[in-house]
């Protein structure tokens, strides 16, 4: 009976990062300094359109930075996790771990 609605981990889940694909994007970007659009698409096995849509949401939320360059006369898009993006990923994973701990049998609280 110690928990309050404010302290419930479900309330810490962020609408933007909780989405599975977006969480995957942040996870891949957290392991690199910069990653190309194509490499990210291949890692997540997504279509260009699908990835673009999710990237736009993350960029608008200030979690991902997009840099467009020309390499060997070809356009290339580099993606980078911002400091807020790194914080958001950590917070999201922590909240999910806490939520799971609550939901596991034997650890459930009223």
């Amino acid at each position: 009976m110690t928990s309050t609605p404010e302290s419930h981990p479900a309330l810490s889940l962020d609408e933007t990062t909780h989405q599975r694909v977006r969480l995957g994007i942040l996870a891949v970007l957290s392991e690199t300094t910069e990653c190309t659009f194509a490499a990210l698409r291949d890692q997540l096995e997504l279509t260009d359109g699908n990835l673009s849509r999710h990237l736009r949401v993350l960029e608008e939320a200030g979690l991902v930075e997009v840099r467009k360059t020309f390499e060997d006369r070809r356009p290339r898009t580099w993606l980078k996790l911002t400091r807020n993006g790194r914080k958001a990923l950590r917070a999201q994973l922590d909240a999910m771990e806490k939520l799971l701990a609550r939901l596991r049998p034997g650890t459930e609280q009223d």
């Binding site: 995957g24 996870a27 690199t32 910069e34 890692q43 596991r104």
Partner: protein, 252 residues
């Protein structure tokens, strides 16, 4: 919901591990380059493996003696202080340049970059710092006196810091441990003398008997620069070769 959240977390962990393997799978080359640089520095010494002449030839300048700072790396007779100085101050930046080219090529091919400029910056800064501190006028140390803490003014410490910086950038515990090991062995040999043991350790190894005046470790020739340099690069070589083996399997 429980199962879904658990599966999502497991998938994310797997995805991160896969991305890490891919993005950080190139550390083997710089690790081997740093180890190779240290091993090649054996050529700077007059007697890397053999015993030096019991009585140095005082008529020949520098024969058998060494000066502080130890520009060859370890306090042992080198062919030429200038060659040793040039070896490290050209060799280490060259290693950094080759490493940078490797990471640029790899990043462009894979579409994943790592923070290698940070490694390059730290390595060059430590090397520059070594040159600046070593230029401070001081009393020279000649055998049989021990250099003490000032013995840490050796290019080997710069290599150790470079390996640790690379380990941080590559998130590799093996590289961090390898760099710390290299620094520890270099620090010990440069502060006390090659293979020299402090009194308390010699006393302890003797089973608590006898005097505590210190001693010299001659096991596997660890009182000569060659075996000491091999010993200090063993973890870096292991990390590099293991990484190369893994990268080979991934690209097949």
């Amino acid at each position: 919901m429980d199962d879904l959240a658990e599966k999502t977390l497991a998938d994310i962990r797997q995805l991160r591990a896969r991305s890490r393997r891919l993005a950080h799978g190139g550390a083997w080359l710089p690790a081997l380059l740093l180890a190779a640089l240290v091993l090649v520095s054996m050529l700077l010494y007059r007697s890397p493996f053999g015993e030096p002449p019991a009585v140095p030839d005082f008529d020949t300048p520098d024969a058998g003696w060494w000066r502080h700072p130890f520009w060859a790396g370890l306090p042992a007779g080198s062919h030429s202080d200038v060659s040793a100085y040039l070896f490290w101050f050209v060799g280490l930046p060259l290693t950094v340049i080759v490493t940078g080219a490797w990471y640029r090529w790899r990043g462009s091919r894979l579409g994943m970059k790592i923070a290698w400029p940070w490694y390059a910056g730290v390595t060059c800064a430590v090397l520059a710092l070594l040159a600046i501190i070593a230029a401070v006028p001081t009393r020279s140390v000649t055998p049989p006196f021990q250099a003490g803490w000032s013995g840490l003014l050796t290019p080997l410490v710069a290599v150790a810091v470079a390996a640790i910086a690379l380990g941080v950038v590559e998130r590799s515990l093996g590289l961090i441990v390898g760099g710390a090991w290299l620094g520890l062995i270099a620090g010990w040999n440069c502060a006390l003398g090659v293979g020299e043991l402090p009194g308390w350790l010699a006393w302890l190894l003797d089973g608590g008997d006898g005097s505590a005046l210190g001693g010299q470790l001659t096991l596997f020739g660890l009182h000569r620069p060659g075996p000491v340099l091999i010993l200090m690069t063993l973890p870096l070589l292991s990390v590099g070769l293991l990484g190369w083996w893994r990268a080979r399997k991934v690209t097949r």
